[in-house]
């Protein structure tokens, strides 16, 4: 059994890009329900999941924003996105939901170099 229970869940896919985002968030929620301290890192297109005021997808597709909004209820309050990704996508921080912390390259590297379980979606 590992000593560190600090789970890092990485989201790399935009909303409605298959079911990656939904099933990645499900894994994060279950981790939190199991008492793990969960940190979410949104990389690449995954950062689009954090856009506030986004709509549901194609007819019948469930919106993912309500799940993002309720993460805090599960004590998942570490929502990170690399600043470089925000720059690449031309996304100002104000366009994102509350509570997102941008990370520098150095901080992202530090996250990966710590010995912790990681799940990638």
């Amino acid at each position: 059994m590992r000593e560190s229970e600090d789970l890092l869940v990485i989201i790399r896919h935009a909303p409605h890009d298959s079911n990656w985002l939904r099933e990645g968030l499900d894994a994060a929620l279950v981790g939190a329900a199991f008492g793990q301290s969960v940190r979410l890192l949104f990389m690449g297109q995954g950062a689009l999941a954090l856009c506030r005021e986004q709509q549901a997808g194609a007819p019948g597709q469930k919106a993912s924003l309500p799940t993002i909004d309720m993460l805090e209820m599960y004590d998942i309050d570490q929502l990170n996105v690399p600043q470089r990704v925000l720059d690449d996508l031309k996304l100002p921080l104000e366009a994102l939901v509350d509570g997102v912390t941008p990370l520098s390259e150095r901080q992202v590297k530090a996250l990966f170099s710590q010995n912790r379980p990681i799940l990638n979606f």
């Binding site: 059994m1 079911n19 894994a27 279950v30 981790g31 199991f34 793990q36 379980p117 990638n120």
Partner: protein, 130 residues
């Protein structure tokens, strides 16, 4: 070393299942232990007993089954991801009013908690996603 595998790629659409199987056999050949394989996302289709590839192609479901039989590797399938995609056991099928089912032992429908438990039990959890 204890290994676990997370398979999220669909059979015959993505290389992930083939890569995962080859990795599984390489790990075992080098004397490591493979504790379990967890199927999530499109990887749940690996468990379908109705998959019927041509005879000269590897039947991936049978290959996973053989891995379980020969090396006692647990084959866990996320129940939410599977039911959503029409991969369903007999008991779940009857519970949801379906006439047919396509998942049976040694594959087991289970919750995502099993994935986290596998990750905690293993020294390495290797993901095969696409």
């Amino acid at each position: 070393m204890d290994y676990g595998l997370l398979v999220m790629g669909a059979p015959y659409s993505q290389p992930a299942p083939h890569s995962a199987l080859r990795f599984a056999h390489a790990v075992l050949a080098r004397g490591h232990r493979l504790v379990g394989v967890f199927f999530y996302h499109d990887g749940v289709h690996n468990a379908s007993m109705l998959m019927t590839p041509p005879q000269d192609e590897l039947n991936l479901r049978d290959a996973w089954k053989a891995l379980h039989k020969e090396h006692d590797v647990a084959l866990d399938v996320c129940i939410a991801a599977a039911l959503r995609r029409g991969v369903i056991s007999q008991s779940e099928a009857s519970r949801h009013g379906h006439d047919a089912f396509n998942l049976e032992a040694p594959f087991e429908l289970t919750g995502l908690g099993q994935l986290l438990t596998l990750q905690q039990r293993c020294d390495r959890l290797i993901t095969f996603a696409s």
